[in-house]
C-alpha cells in the first residue's frame, strides 16, 4: 500500500504559523474532524491527543512529530499533516512537519507501519526537505507518490528494533563490557566478529562471574554479607576477556520476524533483548521495552 493513499488533500495544511505545538495540533485536529466522521466531539478527541502528547516521545530528531491518540468506538486510521511556516518547538526539537494520527483502540499493524513509513521519510533528508517545501497539499501528495513510499502490510521487528547499538569484540576486557553497560544504560551487548554474532553478554552474565556454581546450590545467601568470589570479580575485571565469559548465542530474530514471534521469544526465554540477524550479520537489537514503547503504547 502507498503511504499517499492513506492521505487526502483536505487534511494536509501548509504555510500557517503556530505559536506552539498544541496550537498546531488543535488546528490539524479540527481540520480532520471537519472532513471525517468521527463519533466523538472535537473537545474529547483533543483531550485524548493532548493527554498522549503529555506523555512525551512523539517528537523525533529528524524534525517530525507524530502526535496521536487511540479512540473508543472508532475503527479507522485518520492522518492529518501540517507543515508550519516556521518550525515549532516540541520536546526540545524543532519540528518541521506534524503528522497527526487517530486510530482505534485495537488496531496496531497499519497504524505502526504508517508511522514507520513517515519516520523513514523523515530520515531521507532530501525527500523530507522537498516535502516540507512542496508548498501545497497536491504537490505534497505527488512527491510522496513519486517517491513510492510504501506502507507495509505487517509490522516486523525491523520497524521497531534499535539499529545503532553498542557491541563488544572477543578480546575486550570485562571492564570495557561493564563500562559499556553503564554508559549506554543497557543490559545486553552482542559480541561481534566482522559484524557476525559470536557471543552475547548481559549484566546478569557479568554478575554470574562473581557467583560460582556452588552458590546456586545453596538455598539462599541471607546468612552472608560478602562473598569472596564476587569481591574477586571487581579485582580481575581488567584481566578477564569477554570471550572467557560470553555465552554462545542461542536465540535470535530475523528482520522480518513478526512482533508476536518476538513477544513469544521474550516471554518463553525470559529474556530482555534479542539480536536481529540478516544472514549472520547483526542488523539490530530488539528490547522488550521496544515492544512496550512502540507497540503497546505507540
Amino acid at each position: 500500500m502507498k503511504l499517499a493513499s492513506l492521505l487526502s488533500e483536505e487534511t494536509i495544511c501548509f504555510g500557517k504559523s503556530y505559536s506552539n505545538m498544541e496550537h498546531a495540533i488543535r488546528e490539524t485536529l479540527s481540520r480532520l474532524h471537519k472532513s471525517h466522521r468521527i463519533p466523538m466531539p472535537l473537545a474529547e478527541v483533543e483531550k485524548a491527543v493532548l493527554e498522549r502528547q503529555a506523555l512525551g516521545g512523539t517528537t523525533f530528531p529528524t524534525g517530525i512529530a507524530v502526535p496521536h491518540a487511540r479512540l473508543q468506538n472508532f475503527s479507522d486510521l485518520l492522518i492529518g499533516v501540517c507543515v508550519p511556516q516556521t518550525p515549532v518547538e516540541s520536546e526540545g526539537q524543532q519540528v518541521r512537519m506534524v503528522v497527526l494520527m487517530l486510530t482505534s483502540k485495537t488496531e496496531t499493524t497499519l497504524y505502526l507501519n504508517a508511522l514507520g513509513s513517515f519516520l523513514k521519510v523523515s530520515q531521507d533528508s532530501s525527500l523530507f526537505d522537498a516535502l516540507c517545501k512542496s508548498g501545497s497539499a497536491s504537490n505534497f501528495l505527488n512527491l510522496l507518490k513519486q517517491a513510492q513510499v510504501e506502507v507495509r502490510k505487517e509490522i516486523t521487528v525491523q520497524t521497531i528494533m534499535a539499529t545503532s547499538f553498542p557491541s563488544l569484540s572477543r578480546s575486550d576486557t570485562v571492564k570495557r563490557a561493564a563500562d559499556l553497560f553503564y554508559q549506554h544504560s543497557t543490559s545486553y551487548l552482542p559480541v561481534l566478529e566482522e559484524g557476525e554474532l559470536i557471543g552475547e553478554l548481559t549484566v546478569l552474565d557479568l554478575f554470574r562471574i562473581g557467583l560460582p556454581d556452588y552458590v546456586f546450590k545453596l538455598g539462599n545467601l541471607k546468612f552472608l554479607k560478602t562473598l569472596e568470589p564476587f569481591e574477586e570479580l571487581l579485582r580481575k575485571e581488567e584481566v578477564l576477556r569477554v570471550e572467557e565469559v560470553m555465552k554462545k548465542p542461542t536465540l535470535f530474530l530475523e528482520e522480518d520476524s513478526s512482533i508476536i514471534e518476538a513477544v513469544f521469544k521474550f516471554v518463553s526465554s525470559n529474556r530482555r533483548h534479542l539480536p536481529v540477524l540478516k544472514g549472520k550479520r547483526v542488523v539490530g537489537i530488539l528490547s522488550y521495552m521496544h515492544i512496550l514503547h512502540k507497540v503497546l503504547r505507540a
Binding site: 546468612f223 552472608l224 554479607k225
Partner: protein, 425 residues
C-alpha cells in the same frame, strides 16, 4: 545350563557392564534389560512385577519427599554453618566437624542427598577461608558412605538388605551402628593426619566465617517446625517398626503423606519434583533383572559354588563376603551388586539356617557400603562431590580421591572383619 539361561546371563552381564562404565544412562539400560527379559519370557510378566521390592521403592520415594520439603526450609544449611562456627572457624576442626555432620545426616538421608546439601556450603566456607575445598569434599564424600552404612535407611543397599532379610531398623542400629562409630573415629584420625598440614588460614579469613549469620538461613520457620515434628515421629517409627510389625516403608510414607498434608498446599507437584524418578526406575529395572536370573536358578548355582569354596564355613564365608563386596563395590555400583547378592545369601540361608546366615547380611552391608570409598567411582556420593567441585572450578581427579580412598577402605574393611569375627563367631 540351557540356551535361554546363557542368553539371560549374557544380557544380565552386558547390562551390568554398561551400568558400571556408564556407557548409557543406567536407568535406561536397566529398564531396557528388564523389558527384554519379560519379552523373551525369561521371567513371566506377573513374576517380574512380583520381584520388585516395593518396600525399597516406597521407602526411597517417601524419604525423598520428606528430605525435599525439609531442605527447602534451610535447616541443613543452618546446621552446617552452625557447625563451622562452633569449630571457631578453624579449618581442620571444621573439616572434622562437617564430616561428623555429614555422617550423621547420611545415616538418615540418602548419601547423594547429603552431599548435595553439605558440599555447596562446604565449598563456600573453604573459599571464604581462602583454602581449597578439595580435602573437605573428599572427607565428606567418604563420611557420607560411612555414615550411610549405620542405619537401615542410610544407604540403598541397607534398605534392600533390610527388606529382603526382614531385618528391622533396630537390628541395623544394634549390629551396624557400633562398628560404624568405631570406623568413623578411625576415619577422622586418618583425615586429620592427612589434611592437617594444608589447613592454615589467617585470622581475617576465620573472622569472615564467624560473620555468617546462620539464623537468617532458615527460610520458613513454620514449615520447619512441621518438618521437625514429622521427622521426629518418622525416626521414632523406624525405631519401633519391628515391634509394631509395620514396614519402614509404611512409616516413612505415612510421614511423607502427613507432611504433604501439613504443607497446606493443594498442588503437590512441586514436592514430587524432589523425587529422583531416574533412581526409582533404576531399582525397578534392576529388581526385574535379578528376579529373572533368580528364576533361572543361576543365583542358586553361584551360592552353591561359594559354599563349596568355603566348605560351608560361615566364618570364612563372612570374611570373603566383606572383602569381595568391598573390592567389587569400589569398582562397580553397589546397588546392582547387592541386588544380585541378596538372593544368593537367601539361598545360603535356606541351606544353613537363618541363624547361621545372620552375620552374612552384616558382612554384605559393611563390605558393599564401605567399599564405595575405595575409588572415585565407587559410590554416587563421590562422583557427585567431584562433580560439584569441578563445576565450581576445583578438580578432584580419580587419583586424588583414590589415594585417600584406598587407605580409608582398607582400614574400614579390616575393622569390619575384626568386628564380625569377634561379635558373631
Amino acid at each position: 545350563m540351557n540356551l535361554i539361561t546363557w542368553t539371560a546371563l549374557g544380557i544380565f552381564v552386558l547390562v551390568y557392564i554398561i551400568i558400571s562404565f556408564e556407557l548409557v544412562n543406567k536407568t535406561v539400560i536397566a529398564l531396557l534389560g528388564a523389558m527384554v527379559f519379560i519379552a523373551l519370557h525369561i521371567i513371566g510378566q506377573e513374576d517380574a512385577f512380583q520381584s520388585i521390592d516395593w518396600n525399597v521403592i516406597f521407602l526411597l520415594i517417601s524419604m525423598m519427599v520428606i528430605v525435599g520439603i525439609t531442605k527447602s526450609t534451610g535447616l541443613f544449611q543452618y546446621v552446617a554453618i552452625k557447625t563451622a562456627k562452633a569449630a571457631k572457624g578453624d579449618p581442620i576442626r571444621i573439616l572434622v566437624a562437617l564430616s561428623g555432620v555429614t555422617a550423621l545426616f547420611s545415616a538418615f538421608l540418602d548419601n547423594v542427598t547429603t552431599i548435595l546439601i553439605i558440599a555447596p556450603v562446604t565449598i563456600l566456607i573453604a573459599v571464604e577461608l581462602g583454602i581449597s575445598p578439595v580435602p573437605f569434599l573428599i572427607s565428606e564424600a567418604m563420611a557420607s558412605n560411612i555414615g550411610g552404612t549405620a542405619t537401615l535407611i542410610g544407604d540403598p543397599p541397607n534398605i534392600m538388605i533390610g527388606s529382603a532379610a526382614r531385618l528391622d531398623f533396630m537390628a541395623f542400629l544394634l549390629n551396624l551402628t557400633p562398628i560404624i562409630g568405631i570406623i568413623f573415629l578411625a576415619f577422622v584420625g586418618i583425615v586429620y593426619l592427612l589434611f592437617r598440614k594444608d589447613m592454615v588460614v589467617t585470622t581475617e579469613r576465620r573472622a569472615r566465617v564467624m560473620e555468617f549469620d546462620e539464623s537468617r538461613s532458615i527460610e520458613n520457620p513454620v514449615l520447619l517446625r512441621k518438618c521437625l515434628i514429622v521427622l521426629g515421629f518418622v525416626i521414632l517409627g523406624f525405631l519401633l517398626h519391628g515391634m509394631l510389625q509395620v514396614e519402614a516403608a509404611t512409616i516413612s510414607m505415612l510421614g511423607a503423606s502427613v507432611l504433604l498434608l501439613l504443607t497446606g498446599k493443594h498442588e503437590i507437584d512441586e514436592y514430587f519434583r524432589d523425587i529422583e524418578w531416574g533412581t526409582i526406575f533404576f531399582f525397578i529395572g534392576l529388581f526385574i533383572l535379578v528376579g529373572g536370573i533368580v528364576e533361572l536358578g543361576v543365583i542358586r548355582l553361584l551360592a552353591q559354588k561359594l559354599l563349596a569354596v568355603t566348605q560351608g564355613n560361615m566364618k570364612l564365608t563372612a570374611v570373603l563376603l566383606i572383602w569381595a563386596s568391598g573390592i567389587i563395590s569400589a569398582i562397580v555400583d553397589n546397588i546392582p551388586y547387592v541386588a544380585t547378592m541378596i538372593p544368593m545369601i537367601k539361598d545360603i540361608a535356606s541351606s544353613v539356617g537363618q541363624e547361621a546366615s545372620f552375620p552374612l547380611w552384616w558382612s554384605l552391608a559393611l563390605g558393599a557400603c564401605l567399599g564405595g570409598n575405595g575409588t572415585l567411582v565407587g559410590a554416587s556420593a563421590n562422583v557427585i562431590a567431584a562433580g560439584l567441585a569441578s563445576k565450581s572450578g576445583f578438580k578432584i581427579t580419580f587419583l586424588d580421591f583414590t589415594r585417600y580412598g584406598v587407605l580409608v577402605t582398607l582400614v574400614s574393611l579390616v575393622l569390619s572383619t575384626l568386628y564380625v569375627l569377634v561379635r558373631y563367631f
